[in-house]
């Protein structure tokens, strides 16, 4: 295992200390239970937004805490959902009287832990709403199964809802907005290499020099299928096809195109992918009105990419453009 870390069991704590020391003006970190929260929390009158999940997806979620995005983020162990006490304590720390929205990715662990936290918080009289993000078209969801994973759309929902909360949306309106973002977002990912969970010490799966995994999630799990490596343009087609067909996205739609690195894929490759994705959309008469390109929802050092399309409207565009000031996303301030 080649990583710039110390002891595997110290990875999360040390990373959080680094985050806290790097951005004291933006975030504070509480340890045991672990949560990252806005330096100026609680922000009066504002609905607070709390998210969380396993570590290993940096900058998500801790890097998205700050003005115009999250009030708190609860990082679990690497790829492990955080525990209810983390969300419960974070909720109490950021609740400013207007209720709290939980943005939860659709993993049974995340859902159950956030549910237990919500029960505890509600028992304290804190109004809690939860929205579950499930945008991964690689998973054929059904009533009887867990349904789809929550991936790239989570980042966009956190930015957009964070802006709305700043603008005074109440809990109900914010919850509906978050559901609408989820309903209009679709993602799919692929991997060129596996990743290595620190406490495991070996890759979570093996891939040949000429193989790739299509339809992976963000936890180093294998994908839906393993195929021969293909040129970037063909890979983009493999990802875009199911994304476009699922909503479906139609000519005339305005979209935000999010090309994400799984962690080990450099920017030069992301722009090559963006180029192809953009031309596919152009060819279908779908207008790219906003974009996001870079490593925002990662799987440790995994080389690979995920593409997320979010259908936009004037309200979403306005909220996307609103100022944001976090360690990982910043504009307008």
């Amino acid at each position: 295992m080649k990583k710039l870390i110390n002891k595997p069991e110290d990875v999360v704590r040390e990373e959080l200390e680094g985050l806290a020391w790097a951005h004291p003006d933006l975030v504070k970190v509480h340890f045991d239970p672990n949560y990252v929260y806005r330096a100026d929390a609680p922000v009066n009158g504002k609905v607070a937004i709390v998210s969380g999940g396993g570590s290993g997806h940096e900058p998500m979620h801790g890097g998205f805490v700050g003005k115009g995005m999250l009030d708190a983020a609860c990082p679990g162990a690497v790829f492990t959902s955080p525990t209810p006490d983390q969300m419960y304590e974070a909720t109490k720390a950021v609740h400013a009287g207007a209720g709290v929205l939980y943005i939860v990715k659709n993993y049974s662990g995340d859902i159950m832990n956030f549910e237990m936290a919500a029960d505890l918080a509600r028992a304290d009289g804190i109004p809690i709403e939860s929205v579950v993000i499930d945008d991964d078209v690689a998973v054929e969801g059904s009533l009887y199964t867990q349904g789809r994973r929550g991936v790239g759309t989570t980042v966009l929902a956190e930015k957009i809802c964070g802006a709305a909360a700043e603008q005074g949306y109440n809990l109900k309106r914010l919850t509906d907005l978050c559901k609408r973002v989820n309903d209009n977002g679709r993602s799919m990912g692929m991997a060129l290499t596996p990743c290595t969970v620190p406490h495991v010490g070996r890759p979570t799966f093996e891939l040949g020099e000429d193989e790739m995994e299509i339809g992976i999630g963000i936890h180093g799990e294998p994908g839906r299928q393993r195929t021969k490596l293909r040129p970037a343009d063909e890979i983009v087609e493999l990802l875009m096809e199911p994304i476009l067909a699922d909503l479906p996205f139609k000519a005339g739609d305005r979209v935000l195109l999010f090309v994400n690195s799984m962690g080990g894929t450099p920017l030069i490759e992301l722009y090559i992918l963006y180029r192809k994705a953009y031309s596919i959309l152009e060819g279908r008469g779908i207008q790219v009105v906003r974009n996001l390109i870079g490593p925002y929802i990662t799987s440790l050092e995994m080389a690979g990419t995920s593409i997320t399309l979010l259908r936009m409207d004037d309200e979403l565009i306005h909220l996307w453009d609103a100022p944001v000031l976090t360690p990982a996303l910043r504009w307008g301030i």
């Binding site: 396993g54 679990g76 162990a77 662990g109 159950m112 991964d136 495991v200």
Partner: protein, 222 residues
Amino acid sequence: MEKAGVETMSVHRDEVLAWIRAVAAAIEQNRDYLIQLDAAIGDADHGANMDRGFKAVLARLGSVADKDIGTILKTIGMTLVSTVGGAGGPLYGTFFMQAGMATAGKLELTPADWVSALEAGLQGVINRGKAQPGDKTMVDALMPALQALKEALGHGACFAEALTRSAEAAERGMRGTIPLVAKKGRASYLGERSVGHQDPGATSSFLMLKAAAEIWANARPG
């Protein structure tokens, strides 16, 4: 005479504590095995999560060693909830919390007490996780284990005997998850690709019941 046996057979609080220590040891021993199983169809953390959780339980155990079994089991459940994380944390946490409520105030467990503890724990897991038998989860080990326990006792088997049947059923249930397509948990994202792999949670559940059968074996008559 067996009937009589049954009456006399029960496990004391100290044996319950011994069982928990045995579970912690079994989890530690099988940490990498559980990680491996989870790596194949999940995210390679079940072994690490459970091991972290039961180490925390061991640390907490002393403080409740003189309490009733219900309090002990509830404390274990709360500890697991706040240290395991993932799906395993809330599920096993709920399992032990419910089992604890079912055994509130008791200083020893009769076979019937163990049945209701297991029943309450399993029900808690099902309520929390909404998994059905056959979804390729820990439920596929816990449910047959409970059934086998009841059956054995119903047929007049002694406690130890019944615990062994229960553990065997859990093992069969665990192996039975191999051909299944996962419908709950991370493995479900793999769809057909989850087939051919044994479920890690079912495996950790089997380890717990196996530990009970072994540790409480001295509950065998004569």
